[in-house]
Each structure stands twice: as C-alpha cells, then as structure tokens.
C-alpha cells in the first residue's frame, strides 16, 4: 500500500488557531443560554488546597487550546474543570475554539473517525505541540460505561455525581502536570530559560 501523505500539527498553524481563540468568558458569551449549564458545573467544582498548591508552583508557560462545542454535554461536564485548573496559574493560557468554526483544525485531530470534543491541544510557549488529550478521561469513560452498558441511560442534563467530577478533574490535572513537567525538564527550554 502506498504511503499516504498526512499532515501534522505545526506550531505556526496552532499559533494562528490560538490567536483566533476565545478566553472563557468570551467563549461562554457565544451562547448565553447554553452557558448556564457550563456555569453550573463550574460552580460545583473546586481544586483542593493540594491541587492548587501544585498548579500555583508551575514555572513554565503552557498553552492549551480546547476544541469544544458549547452545545456538547461532554464539554459542559469537562470544560469547566479544565478552566478551574487554568485559573490557578497565570502561566497556563487556556483558550477555546468552536469545533465547527475551526474545521481545519478539528479535521486533523479526529478520534475514531469522528469530530469529537472536547479535545485539548497542549503546547509549549512557542506553540510546539506537546500533547493532545480528549475526548473523555478514564473516569468519565468508566462512569459512562457503567451507565450505558448496564442499560441505564441518564436524562440529558442529569446531575453529575461529585465524585465523578472530582475524578475527572484529577484526570485532567494529571495530564496538565505531565505536560508541565515535560516542559520544565525539556533540555531545549532549560537552555532557553537558563534554569
């Protein structure tokens, strides 16, 4: 079989997407009605003191671009958690893009042949890609499997248990910590920052 030419995410492309992306408030303002569900989850979660101490100790810039849909239930239930993490450190720059308005990006990060969201592209300070994480974390998938494969189907908008949110928050935080440590221990960036 011939090798098919396939693109890869370039820093210049990611920077252009990041520059066009919105911050949290601007993103939620794109649909005030649907934003209410996002704020409900946002108000339901908070980082523990230990989690806050970890994130506030970050010393490398992390760019994070979340490809999302404001209408998407999984985005509602995970997006506010990612936002909560980012708010703790001024070095985490988290932006949001609507999947359907940025199909040139979404098409390059399809999962299982679908345009799934949320997906976060984590980048270094110069937009070099580091990690792509999504659509759901392991905690979310375990909870979903328990509901779907057991035959129970929750109503749309049904409350999310606190322990599921806490587990999902920890999953996302683990990936953010991993990305930060990758950048903090990077020979390229240590040379650049002299640390």
């Amino acid at each position: 079989m011939p090798t098919t030419t396939t693109p890869c995410l370039k820093a210049t492309f990611l920077k252009s997407k990041f520059d066009a992306a919105l911050d949290w408030d601007a993103y939620l303002a794109t649909d005030a009605d649907k934003a209410a569900d996002w704020r409900t989850i946002y108000d339901q979660v908070a980082l523990t003191d230990e989690q806050r101490r970890l994130v506030s100790g970050f010393t490398r810039q992390v760019k994070a671009l979340c490809v999302s849909g404001i209408w998407c239930g999984d985005c509602v239930q995970q997006g506010p958690l990612i936002q909560r993490i980012a708010e703790v450190s001024p070095l985490i720059d988290l932006r949001w893009v609507d999947r359907d308005e940025h199909l040139d990006l979404a098409e390059q990060i399809k999962i299982n042949a679908g345009l799934r969201v949320p997906l976060v592209v984590f980048m270094a300070e110069d937009f070099e890609p580091v990690s792509i994480f999504g659509d759901r974390t392991l905690t979310r998938y375990r909870a979903l499997a328990a509901r779907q494969l057991a035959g129970a189907c929750p109503l749309p908008g049904a409350p999310v248990p606190d322990d599921e949110l806490a587990g999902t928050l920890q999953d996302w935080l683990d990936e953010v910590e991993r990305v930060h440590l990758l950048l903090r221990t990077s020979a390229r960036l240590r040379q650049q920052h002299g640390d």
Binding site: T6, C8, R53, A145, L149
Partner: protein, 192 residues
C-alpha cells in the same frame, strides 16, 4: 499528531511484534533492559482480569528505540498488557531513517522523542496518541534533575516505580478500550 488511518495502517503493517523487535537490539547492550523490565512487569491478577476483559479489537503502534531506557520500560509494560488480551495487536517500529515519514509527523515539544504510541480502532482510525513519558516518570525525573525548591512534585514517590508505569499504561489501554467499546460507530458494526 493523530495522523490518518491509511498512513497508520501502512506503518503498522511494517511493525514488529515484541519479540522480533527486541531481537533487533544488540544482545550485550540494548536487549537486557527490555528483558529485565518485561520480567518485572507480570500483571497482577486484577490487572490481568481487566486486560482479558477488553473486547474491542485495538491496534497499537509504538515508535520506539531499542537503545532507549524509557522505551524498554513503557514498551515492556505495553507488551505485558497485550499478552493478556488477544484483542490487542501491538507492534513496534524502530525510530530510524526508514520511518522518517512517521518520525517527522510526531514531534513533541519541537523534538523527535520516543516512545510515541498510536492507539487505533480495528480499521486503523486513530483514537489516541501518547508520548513520550508517563506522569510518574516525569515526576521521578523532576525530582532527580531539578533543584528541590524547583521540582514542584507534591505526590509521594511510588512504592515501586517500575510497576507504577505498568499501572499508568494499563489505564491508558482501558481508556481506549472503553472509547472503542462505547463508540456508536463500532457498536453498530458489532451489533452490541
């Protein structure tokens, strides 16, 4: 980083199983760490039960180096999981000139790091890409390389750092299995 199914299928078909890949390494230099890690990473009974329960066919392609210590650890852990589950087809590709088309499409932080692993559905549609090191390995490196006041690692060291990587790797496989098992596209294909 996620690439497309045709490209991944082509690279997967050039990949080697664990035993054949490890045999590429120099017997006196590269191979012993792989054999040592594999020997240390037998699945515990609950881990084995979990891996055996995975039901969706999963293709996994690991771009790696026989000479790389982190690859030996992560690669052996993946091999142990795959050994326990016939639904997982795990292949390894050596990072070399021959596979530059894959290497150059998988940059991490501006470098061509290994290991990088692509997880795919049965039809090679990409599901996840992971690399290079796991969180526990990065915590360990930060503790060793950075001044204590700059390491910012709050989690205590794991009781067994080698087996901790196995736990992380198994978590990753489980997440991919659940993604595939719950996929409406694949549930329709399999009628389940």
């Amino acid at each position: 980083m996620l690439l497309n199914a045709d490209f991944l299928r082509n690279k997967f078909e050039q990949g080697l199983g664990y035993g054949d890949f490890v045999a590429l390494g120099e017997p006196e230099g590269h191979r012993p760490p792989w054999d040592q890690r594999y020997g240390q990473l037998e699945l515990e009974r609950p881990q084995r039960s979990l891996a055996e329960s995975f039901s969706r066919p999963m293709k996994v392609l690991c771009l790696t180096g026989t000479w790389c210590g982190d690859c030996a650890l992560q690669g052996s852990a993946m091999a142990r999981v795959a050994d326990a589950c016939p639904a997982i087809d795990l292949r390894f590709l050596l990072r070399c000139e021959e596979h530059a088309d894959l290497v150059t499409r998988a940059p991490i932080n501006g470098g061509f790091r290994v290991p990088v692993t692509w997880f795919m559905a049965e039809d090679f549609e990409p599901v996840a890409v992971f690399g290079d090191r796991t969180l526990s390995r990065y915590r360990s490196i930060a503790r060793k390389q950075l001044p204590p006041d700059q390491a910012n690692v709050l989690a205590p060291p794991p009781a067994d750092p080698v087996r901790e990587v196995l736990r992380e790797v198994l978590d990753f496989f489980e997440r991919v299995e659940l993604l595939l098992r719950l996929s409406p596209r694949l549930r329709k294909t399999h009628g389940d």
